[in-house]
Symmetry: C2
Subunit: 193 residues, 2 copies
């Protein structure tokens, strides 16, 4: 799925500028899709060339014109077609889990810091999601509630797992050497001081 389709999706709820679309990405799609200005502005320009959107330049005091894009009938058709065509992929790319996978190669302090950083990040995302959910709750479509609820469920599960397993993992890596095998008794004695 490309940025063009997501832009059409945002515009299907009403006219917006590129800047506002970026904000919508950050607020609503943050958990499962991201895009930068460097992909959004060219996407909108191409959509305009193709006739999927029309653009009205709104003059601003001492600022670049705000270019407000509105979806056309053809754009709605293209959005619908793209959503029908798209295969339901779901891909996780996590350097966090790679780091944990190789926990035995890291000092325990680094490991603890990695887990704590991720915990804070997950909490941050969940709070901002919950906030926007409560702000807009009444106007959300069933699909939006479903997608946001999915994110909330995953974040809750992740935070719970990190909370439950953190201490255990840290104890285990302290008790094993760099090959993942148990340390000898003398090492354990030192570690247990």
């Amino acid at each position: 799925m490309d940025v063009k389709t997501l832009c059409l999706g945002v515009l299907s709820t009403g006219p917006h500028s590129g800047y506002e679309i970026k904000k919508a990405f950050e607020e609503s799609f943050h958990y499962f899709f991201r895009a930068s200005f460097g992909s959004i502005y060219p996407a909108l320009a191409e959509l305009e060339r193709e006739g999927g959107v029309v653009c009205e330049a709104v003059a601003q005091a001492r600022r670049p014109d705000k270019k407000v894009y509105a979806i056309t009938r053809a754009g709605r058709d293209a959005l619908r077609a793209a959503l029908m065509r798209e295969e339901p992929r779901h891909v996780v790319r996590s350097e966090f889990l790679v780091l944990l996978y190789f926990a035995h190669l890291l000092p325990p302090e680094r490991l603890a810091a990695v887990i704590d950083t991720m915990t804070v990040e997950f909490e941050r995302i969940m709070h901002s999601d919950l906030e926007s959910y409560e702000r807009n709750h009444a106007e959300l479509t069933p699909g939006q509630r479903f997608a946001l609820g999915y994110g909330r469920t995953m974040l809750t599960a992740a935070l719970g797992y990190l909370h439950r397993q953190r201490g255990q993992l840290l104890r285990e890596v302290t008790a094993t050497d760099e090959t993942g095998r148990p340390r000898v008794a003398s090492d354990l004695a030192v570690a247990g001081d």
Copy 2:
């Protein structure tokens, strides 16, 4: 984190060919990292140039030589350094959730098919993960158990959510029009037939 680092990671457990590394990616990292031959083979070639790995060509009957790579001391240092440097990111890219977010633009049959496809896919991943977990359980490092347990926890939570919410969402989209607003009473009567 690049493919080179992950290759070093796989090779830190023993010598392997590029083909075998690809299999290891599929078996062990599938949930949180992926790479194709088109990135693995060049990564190994570059690691060899840099001295992070050494390569022994093993002649094969009627096949290309199998090139077995082994990590060097310098390679282990580079792996460790990369793991210390790497920031713990965790990014989800899900066309699946985008489709659900725009559920009101899809026919209910399509929506059901999307959810069911994803359910089957999640179950498939979980079963193959569980299998490899049970096969290797005793030899796994604490970090590997943690990372695999994380994936299992997420998949369980996802499947539970999909199972619980599927019917509800389908009923709701049947009862709302394409703007997400409730259909008029006459429509509901038809839908309820």
